[in-house]
Amino acid sequence: MQKYSIFNLVKNAFSNHENWDLAWKDPTPKEVYDVVIIGGGGHGLATAYYLAKEHNITNVAIIEKGWIGGGNVGRNTTIIRSNYMHDENGLFSEFGMDLWRKMSQDLNYNVMFSPRGIINLAHSDAQMNAYARRGNSMRLNGIDAVLLNREQVKEIIPMADFSENVRFPIYGGLMQPSAGTARHDAVAWGYARQADSMGVDIIQNCEVIGFDVSAGKIKGIRTSRGNIKAKKVGLCVAGSTNILAEKLNMTLPIETHLLQACVSEPVKPVLDNVVTFGAGHFYVSQSDKGEMVMGGDLDGYNSYAQRGNLPTLQHVLTEGIAMMPFLSKLKMLRTWGGIMDMSMDGSPIIDKTHIDGLYLNCGWCYGGFKATPASGWTFAHTIAQDRVHELNAGYSLNRFNTGHLIDEKGLGTKTWIS
């Protein structure tokens, strides 16, 4: 594989950049694979990469219905963080933070990881207490957390509304300085390029239409490009999880919902960090191009539409303007939506299933992008070793049956509870 470096950049400049290798190939599906990963998004590509890199399993195919990186890895707001209170989420995400910090070197692909810090604003004494508790839990798990008072927040985010008589005054906030953002498409492309170079077949425009299961064991999959035999199959299909689960006669604690995001026209730098509104569900950061990247609540009803509805957007941006009034002066550049695999407790599932050789990775809710490396790493481990790693042991499928829910915020699909 051609290395991306300043020397190769200069060298290729002499031939007008016409002789670069393809970043990944377009292979015809083979008849048999050791592992088939369904879903060529961030998690699927990362899983294939870590299967090859950490477990030396390279006879792997990624089966993607559309094109790689066309789903939620290309539709998110690029936030990376590990500011969780519960051990399962905190340790898992902090493991991921380490992978994020090394990712550009590891993949030889600039993913533009920018640890600019995330601040969750607090709007009451009670919320400050809750944040102090969460911050302490984070620090016990080795995650950086700083509790900020009103004056400190004002210094960092002068554009937020600190005037008197506002409905939700800013009391302070909880900051994770090491959190940040990354270039989302680069993450998908970087994993794809490295996985491909190690022998993984990336098969696009190939829809899974069925599974071959006999005697409780997975034998292969049926696709729009023919049948493929596989010893192991991993599902990484986010919002389409229920569609594939139905073909396997499985009913999961997952509902598919629509989440919108939007960006404004680009403006000069006004916001250095990722900021979330504490009295509702709104978050914002500024991209390197200057656009304000914003998002918030689900549309609120089951949806596969991949496009949003205006009442929710209006609701979300009303919160944004309450937090940062200058946002009302900006023109909207784009809005879009993606379909989320909302689990019932708001935490993900990375586990084996009752079918031998079939593995499940789903339930990422609002937080799939930042989990990409840790999800791929632990899912690869789960598939290769046929047992869960301690990092994803809490993300079991049967926790809904046994009552071991991970209720980080206590809400999953039922957004109205908040």
Partner: protein, 89 residues
């Protein structure tokens, strides 16, 4: 914007309603032994498929009645609406 035909009030905008999820879910009967799996299916497990979906909505800013709505989850087309206690054929 969705427009939902409330069987009690007529056609109203989505803003007047709140969503209640899959209407095909049945609470297990309490006068018999209920297994953990049955509770699990009732509380957590959902089909949530692409296409026709029968779901509960509450006309929260209107008559406050719960209603059933048959809607396509991909196109958002609403086919039929029913009162909460109406049998859906």
């Amino acid at each position: 914007m969705l427009y939902i035909n409330c069987p009690h009030c007529g056609m109203r905008s989505q803003n007047e309603f709140s969503y209640g999820g899959d209407a095909s879910v049945k609470r297990p009967e309490l006068n018999k032994e209920v297994s953990d799996q049955e509770w699990d299916n009732f509380v957590y497990n959902r089909k949530s498929l692409r296409g026709k979906h029968l779901e509960l909505w509450q006309h929260i800013s209107g008559c406050r009645q719960w209603i059933k709505v048959e809607r396509d989850t991909a196109t958002h087309e609403i086919f039929r609406t029913f009162k909460a206690d109406e049998e859906v054929a």
